[in-house]
Symmetry: C2
Subunit: 480 residues, 2 copies
């Protein structure tokens, strides 16, 4: 009997475990919360709050280069918008960073075939002397070739480095492309180059819109003039180089460092009903490069997070935990907002239930990955089950990094998701003049809002946490 | 018997007529010429002479704004190239026209939402006062709405007119688009506007590259500042206008007339063996707008004509008549090269066997139409039969206009073809920065060369002419 009883008890336990998909100590999303999140998801799929937000931000503010007058207007616009949306709290937190300005930029082939080139200066580039800088070009096929070169062949020259990115759903070529931009400029400067020029880290072979982006220069003393050519202009320069004749370029970049600027992370909250101090953190970055209007990078991210929180706020009652939307300052020149935030809030890391940021455009989310404690894996699977019908596949084999700025909180120990968007076209428009509202499909954006709203709500309602703790996930290999 | 004999004779005549597709007095392409043209066509389809030409011109010269230093280099490059290609004659003919310069151009929304706009000045635009011009905007949905407006609502304002072109194989929306640009500027000026701005006459909704093009201003006294916004910028301005708030723009255009320039049509010939003074005229225009490198408009056209003539020159013996390649000067600002050519050669119009110009990009030729005398229709059908296997359909119901510059010789009485290219993507790149070499598919270009080589050779070898005479075809309704 006893034996039988024990077997029955075990069977009951196993049945319970499987029925709830969770052992007793596991984090669980209550059935009621799953049902509410499912309805929330379906509402969000047909909601235009997100699109209206990004249309407003990109139309009424436009480009928002960190530290510019437009950036300040963007902060004011977002504070006013968050208040108008009725969030329970709206506030800002200071973020200091070096101010870098772009005033004008020109490039031309001087010899052998004089003609203008479409160019844009890179973040933290030095300016050229007034009137421009003229020098011979030395060209390399890729960053490795530059690194392998004899510095004597580079000294006093304009270094040009090619890159070739292929459009990909997960955009993984950008690792190589951005390294060519950030590290390449530093390598060239150390080798004695007078300027650095790269084929844009982009995937639009037919567009004369060069892609900007930050360099790895850490202070004005090490910076040299650094810029990117559009892909057709890079083709043109490469054809001229192939002619075998010496190639002379003139760069005229009126850009540079200009002291320190104090910007702001803009934060809005839906205050938790039961655990107001426990936080689900979502967001995007408010700054943009100045060439476009910062629609896909990253007006969309802020809009997705804000719209998701607004839809949760509009539910019959507040969620158990707080939903915090963070519009980060100056992500573009080195995660300044994200690092300031993580530094200021490191001690509270255990109160961050779960977090992730949207910063990969406005394409649909197709993959969810997570860095959470083992006992929260079933809760993640519950979230995945709600997201699966709208095209999101859960890949349990990969970590979740939390996105660009929130990667810094993840590095402190915040449990994090990665909600990977379809970036097939992202690097056509990324960091160039073509990053404008017309690149956003309202239905695709709504799918993102649905994903963020549903996951954030379920995380806020969970029985149990996802494992945030100081130093947790330190070695999870996340790359966000 | 006699009766029978007569019937037999008639039947024989009918059979002859149908077998040769020609009555006794009709122009005929000899069978040997048809066979040679067929072989020429097939050689051209795999030849890279045309692509090499346009790659060289756009790389080694680049943009060629009429009257600029680059235009002069373009003339020198083309003379040298034609000589290197081994043509029997290479010469130039003078073309005078008003010089118009573009030095710099900027636009911004001043209120209610300050931000820059991507703008380009239009040909023959006046410059703004130094430091720019700031005024309120009055917006119209189309040119008809502007024309119908009360001038009091326009006076002292910046007039903005929208246009919406759809991509089409034959590009017919450009009629409306170019009228909005050319006539719109003049209408606005006459109504007292201080400046004219249009949504670019283009079909690339996602590109921040505004499309330039000439206005209808005939002299500096009537010109006002006139410019085009890229399509995304036009969307942006239209959204701001829709907000209902007064919209103020600042335009800063450093452009304008600067006296008279003497340019050159560049001409190369393969001298006819039997009738050197009878001419098959083909060509394109050598000038381009300055924003791109003039690859599809119209490096391609010059390249197609030059390559076709070169392939004919390389045949075992010279053709019966002369093949003349004309690279026209300053087509873009009003057919200056074409008009000068027609004025200079009007008296020789009867010696022009047949002519047409390529100026609609580098897409494949898909339609042939002709304005020729009725007795030359069968010869045109013979040409069509050679072109049909490479995708060209003969539409006998439409006239042939001779292309842009050669329309002027056609207007004097030159028999002419139209060889219509696939222009589906043409207005994505036309007159903007994206008109660069990468837009040309070498195989498509080779098909054009095949069409031009085959038709020009057959016209040169024809027994009989195509009806060129002073005043012929005056009412054929051709629109080229």
């Amino acid at each position: 009997m006893r034996h039988t009883v024990r077997l029955h008890a075990l069977a009951a336990c196993v049945a319970l475990a499987f029925s709830a998909h969770a052992a007793a100590r596991d984090t669980v999303i209550p059935d009621k919360a799953v049902a509410a999140a499912t309805a929330l998801r379906d509402r969000a799929m047909n909601d235009i709050t997100g699109y209206d937000f990004v249309a407003g931000l990109t139309t009424e503010v436009g480009p928002r280069l960190a530290g510019s007058a437009a950036d300040k207007r963007g902060v004011e616009w977002t504070v006013a918008k968050f208040k108008a949306m009725g969030f329970d709290k709206v506030y800002t937190e200071k973020v200091s960073y070096p101010l870098w300005e772009r005033r004008s930029e020109h490039a031309q082939i001087v010899a052998p075939y004089p003609q203008p080139l479409a160019v844009t200066a890179l973040g933290y580039s030095a300016g050229t002397p007034a009137g421009g800088l003229t020098a011979q070009v030395v060209a390399f096929d890729d960053l490795a070739a530059l690194k392998a070169a004899d510095p004597a062949t580079v000294k006093g020259k304009i270094v040009y480095v090619s890159t070739h990115m292929t459009p990909q759903k997960d955009g993984h070529d950008y690792g190589m492309g951005s390294a060519t931009r950030t590290a390449g400029a530093v390598v060239a400067a150390k080798m004695g180059a007078v300027a650095y020029l790269l084929r844009s880290a982009g995937t639009d072979p037919h567009s004369r819109t060069p892609h900007t982006g930050v360099t790895g220069f850490k202070d004005p003393a090490e910076a040299i003039p650094a810029a990117a050519l559009s892909l057709p202009d890079a083709d043109q320069l490469e054809r001229v180089v192939k002619s075998g004749k010496p190639v002379t370029l003139k760069l005229d970049l009126d850009v540079g460092f200009k002291g320190t600027y104090q910007g702001e992370n803009v934060i809005a909250e839906v205050t938790g009903r039961k655990h107001p101090d426990e936080v689900v953190a979502i967001g995007g970055h408010l700054d943009s490069w100045d060439l476009g209007t910062g629609a896909i990078d990253d007006g969309a991210g802020v809009a997705i997070a804000a719209a998701a929180a607004k839809l949760i706020k509009d539910m019959p009652q507040r969620p158990d935990r707080t939903i915090r939307v963070i519009a980060f300052a100056n992500e573009e020149m080195g995660l300044w907002g994200g690092r300031a935030y993580a530094d200021a809030h490191a001690k509270e890391v255990s109160t961050f239930q779960l977090g992730t940021e949207s910063d990969f455009g406005a394409g649909r989310v197709w993959r969810m990955t997570a860095s959470v404690k083992p006992e929260a894996r079933n809760a993640i699977a519950q979230i995945a089950k709600v997201l699966e019908p709208i095209g999101v596949a859960y890949d349990a084999s990969r970590p979740g990094g939390g996105g660009s700025d929130l990667s810094q909180m993840h590095a402190k120990g915040m449990a994090a998701l990665s909600l990977t968007q379809d970036g097939t076209n992202y690097f056509d428009y990324h960091h160039n003049a073509n990053d404008t509202l017309d690149k956003i499909d309202p239905k695709d954006l709504a799918q993102n809002v649905a994903v963020y709203a549903a996951f954030a709500y379920m995380a806020a309602q969970a029985d149990g946490n996802f494992g945030s703790a100081p130093g947790a996930f330190a070695n999870d290999g996340a790359h966000d």
